[in-house]
Subunit: 610 residues, 2 copies
């Protein structure tokens, strides 16, 4: 303790203290916002532990077959599914704000992974697996960057119909892609026509034992889903909740049953494909060993996977949080999912996100905190260490059946009829998304859906509704002369513009206003533009307003504005337009109408009821 004579401890540590002072100060609130685990961890108690532990056991049983199945869907070795279900759960538990979300491989993201890796044309499974890990790393970086830049709002640009259409189309694609495992064929393809025609060509090579195994698994799983809960409730008096959970873990019985059958009957000898040797041990830690040039090919798909995964995860988390009046923080969710994907990429996994089915099971089984996720991770780690030899005889047809039953519940064409009856633009966006996802691919499908819905929105705002309005008798309210019985004045034309004025509609609005003025009676003295629905006037529109003002002045007609909103009026005050305006700006349409009617009346005109 006396080794450094002559310099006081403060002096010696000065550079360190200086460095620490330079760091941004983390207040306890700020630290808890970044690490929600500090928040719920402080008050963690025995009751929460019991709930979390129960949920973890059930979710683990459910996740083992699901992880293997989704890895196969992504074209990866089965164990990659297990690896992607260990560290990501731990990291989500540390950073996530949802108390019930269960993270791991999910169907849609697995499909997108397969679709993203296909163009690389990798022959070796080792390279393909490494590329999947790179995709997880890139996706993790994208999610982290979005979280730090607080870009969670980007997800809002995916409209609900587009998401619904995309999920439905993905469900169909996934189910179709799994048919080959049920039939025992080697079909391929990434679009519905490719997959179906490939299966059609191979159909004569169907392997009967595989088909029997597959159909048995399928019918058992459909029965578990539809009939088991009712059966348990009515026969054994088990509560509906417990019976529902039992139905969710049902797949594990199909796994055990068909595995035992495959072993006992030597089904692999009869041509039934089985999972085979799954390496036993810890997930491989470290950076995947790949050619860095593939990053440029993978970054686009990684962004898409990140956004789709985030949207799926956040909507599940929000639905569950609302049930218990909890809140989730969208930008912190981006960080948590980013950390989960980074850890997946660094431990031999592939892109992960919060899954719907497993989160619901977690929630129903009583998970109280994210610790349930960490306990599930331990369960899956034990499975990876000890259970893998038991999976040797597990038929791939069983896993395919698990996937098919799970994804068919995602398929919901009712969005098409709802959109059709409510809005043709929404319908066009859904239909475009479904058709292109099925026919061209998942990436093109979802990108087109987003662009199409934005283009339709912009197109609609470029062709706005304009109504001529009059005073509703006995009120100060003004409505469309074609829909309501209203008071008008032949010397005054009031047009309510039902859109913000901006470049895409400025010229059209100019033509429209001038042609309405042209149609009006010769008595016209005043035009009032009622701006209650004008939320913005951009520079192009301002120039159109100046042109309208000029043209009307030339014809001896005054232009007035009414009900201009605060933010729009503030903007107009920065331009010379208000000085040039031939008429006035009125606070309310009623003020405008009364004042101008008065003026006209003084010169001898009359009011009439339209």
């Amino acid at each position: 303790m006396r080794r450094t004579r002559g310099r006081g401890p403060t002096e010696r540590c000065a550079p360190l203290i200086k460095f620490l002072n330079a760091l941004p100060r983390l207040s306890p609130e700020r630290l808890r916002a970044v690490l929600p685990v500090l928040d719920w961890g402080r008050t963690y108690d025995r009751a929460q532990f019991t709930g979390d532990m129960t949920a973890a056991v059930i979710v683990t049983i459910m996740l083992i077959p699901q992880s293997l199945a989704y890895a196969l869907l992504a074209g990866l070795p089965a164990e990659v599914g297990l690896y992607a279900s260990i560290l990501p759960l731990v990291f989500y538990a540390i950073f996530g704000t949802s108390r019930s979300l269960a993270v791991g491989p999910v169907a849609v993201v697995s499909l997108m992974t397969a679709s993203a890796l296909a163009p690389l044309g990798l022959e070796s499974l080792v390279d393909y697996t490494a590329a999947a890990a790179v995709l997880a790393l890139l996706s993790g970086l994208v999610l982290l960057a979005m979280g730090i830049l607080r870009l969670g709002v980007v997800a809002n640009f995916l409209s609900h119909p587009v998401i619904a259409g995309f999920i439905t189309a993905s469900g169909i694609l996934i189910a179709a892609s799994q048919m080959k495992h049920i039939l025992g064929l080697s079909a391929h393809g990434h679009t519905l026509p490719e997959i179906l025609s490939s299966i059609w060509v191979e159909l004569p090579n169907t392997n009967l034992p595989t088909l029997i195994t597959g159909l048995f698994a399928l019918s058992f799983l459909f029965w578990v889903r539809k009939g088991l809960a009712k059966f348990l409730t009515s026969k054994f008096g088990i509560s509906a909740g417990t019976a529902g959970t039992a139905a969710r873990v049902g797949p594990v019985f199909a796994v055990i049953g068909t595995t035992v059958a495959a072993w006992a009957l030597n089904l692999p000898g009869a041509g039934v494909a089985v999972v085979g040797t799954v390496p036993t041990g810890l997930p491989p830690l470290g950076l995947p060993n790949v050619d860095l040039s593939m990053i440029s090919t993978l970054i686009g798909p990684a962004i898409l996977i990140s956004i789709i995964g985030y949207v799926e995860s956040v909507s599940v988390a929000q639905t569950l949080a609302a049930k218990r009046k909890q809140r989730i923080e969208p930008n912190q969710e981006l960080i948590a999912l980013g950390a989960a994907n980074l850890s997946s990429g660094l431990s031999g996994g592939y892109p992960v996100t919060g899954g719907f089915a497993r989160s619901v099971v977690n929630f129903d089984a009583g998970a109280e905190t994210p610790a349930a996720g960490a306990f599930t991770a331990v369960g899956l780690l034990l499975a990876a260490l000890m259970l893998t030899p038991l999976l040797y005889f597990l038929p791939k047809a069983t896993l395919a059946a698990t996937i098919i039953v799970a994804v068919l519940s995602l398929v919901d064409f009712s969005i098409l009829t709802r959109a059709w009856s409510y809005s043709k633009a929404d319908f066009a966006a859904v239909l475009g998304t479904i058709v292109l996802t099925l026919g061209v691919g998942v990436e093109v499908g979802v990108a087109t859906g987003v662009l199409l819905s934005l283009m339709l929105f912009v197109w609609k705002t470029s062709r706005p509704h304009v109504a001529e309005v009059g005073q509703v008798p006995g009120s100060q309210h003004f409505r469309n002369i074609h829909r309501h019985k209203v008071i008008t004045d032949p010397a005054i034309l009031t047009l309510r513009i039902d859109e913000s004025l901006y470049f895409a509609n400025a010229r059209r609005m100019e033509d429209l206003i001038l042609s309405r003025v042209h149609q009006s009676r010769d008595q016209l003295k005043h035009v009032i533009l009622m701006c209650s629905a004008v939320n913005e006037i951009d520079l192009s529109a301002l120039e159109s307003l100046e042109a309208i003002n000029q043209r009307l002045t030339d014809q001896g007609i005054k232009l007035h504005l009414s009900e201009v909103k605060g933010p729009v009026a503030d903007r107009l005050k920065c331009s010379p337009f208000l000085d040039e305006l031939s008429g006035q700006v009125f606070l309310s349409q009623y003020d405008a109408f009364i004042t101008l009617t008065q003026q006209v009346h003084d010169t001898g005109e009359d009011q009439s009821v339209a």
Copy 2:
């Protein structure tokens, strides 16, 4: 006449008559709309002929140097400029609706042509010229298709600031690209940094005689533009209009002067580049002889050239038409420009459009009908047949000077300051357009400008303004509680939503409304959404409204809507939302406030002035 006995004439012609009957009936009005020449041609008289003829002579004199110069700007042989100024003018005269527009090669389109052809990497000038003709053909087809599909509105998506920024940046690029001719260097490049660094490297090779010729032409032309009109008016008492026209044809004197000087002083021997041999004769008619595979490379630029050319042309035509209270028909203009470009491509030309300077000269010189354009075409045809040998000694530096003086009048940075003071979004769009046009290229510049302005619009609508409103005392009008002194009621929260509700803002609006409700006092019984500025509610937003209604109902608060517009209300009636709504839909906000205050008052609450 008796060769076909036994069959009556009707019988014999039956198939023909059947065919003719199957054609869409062209009423005279319809025919005149498609062929405006039939309209003005019927009443054509001597006075109009005199006006058109005078204008044609002046425009011809102006166009000869300009056509040659713009062809060189596009990297084409000089005669291509003449060819592009013959048939296109005739076709525009037949199909166009503007009475003053003069069509032909223009600066910006010539620059875009050079930029479109560069990636083809064509070595031979013959191939390059053929590719330019293909570009004109493609552009003609695009314009025709847009006209037939009535897509003239597409041009509205180019905001005024984006166009202004693009024209300014193009002017700078063009002027910079012509500097090499003034200096006598062989610089190259398609972006400002490329051009400037290339000139910088070559600067020591400057050819002094060329520089002297160029500077002489430049100073003469600047004087013609700035000083000549004033000189003629003050010294010779010539009217301002005539003096202005004289200033416009000034370049021809620079052409004559420097050509004579180059011949007399043998400037080519001193290293001054001259136009050289220009083939004499008619434009070559027929399809250009090219590799069809280049079409896929050229179609993108052709679309951009078509849209930019159309926007430039229509704005000139509209400006001039407004001065004489004439009208132009945008979709027919597309057809006329399409026909002009097709004819240009089939007669050895390159993309053309309506030019600003020449149209103004045409208008000022007294052109009464599109016949002026046809007469100009005859003038240029004569020039192509007879004048080309005289152009041998014309220095390229003179043509470059003509271009520089013409395009510098397009450069106008005031749009930057106007946009900055009015709207930062508009400013961002202009700045982006200018920087990218100069730094990356014309195509990227204008495309980014359009996308940027659309993205900024969508971004703004995704973050709408929401105001809490109250009753303006003594009126039935409701305004922002933070801007006006208004009456509110603690049991009633009225939020005016200043935007259409759609997917990009639905979720945000949901969070915002629920958090405002959360902040409000416990007395809250009613929430009114004032929808006067809601011009649309899409399916995603409808689902958010359903969620808001559900959440408020859970808290014992009723949700009401007021001032829902006709089209929006019609849409809502197609959904179950109005049945599920806990509150009512009121015609006016005043009705809503009075009715609900009454209800609350009956149970003992009070009003307060906020």
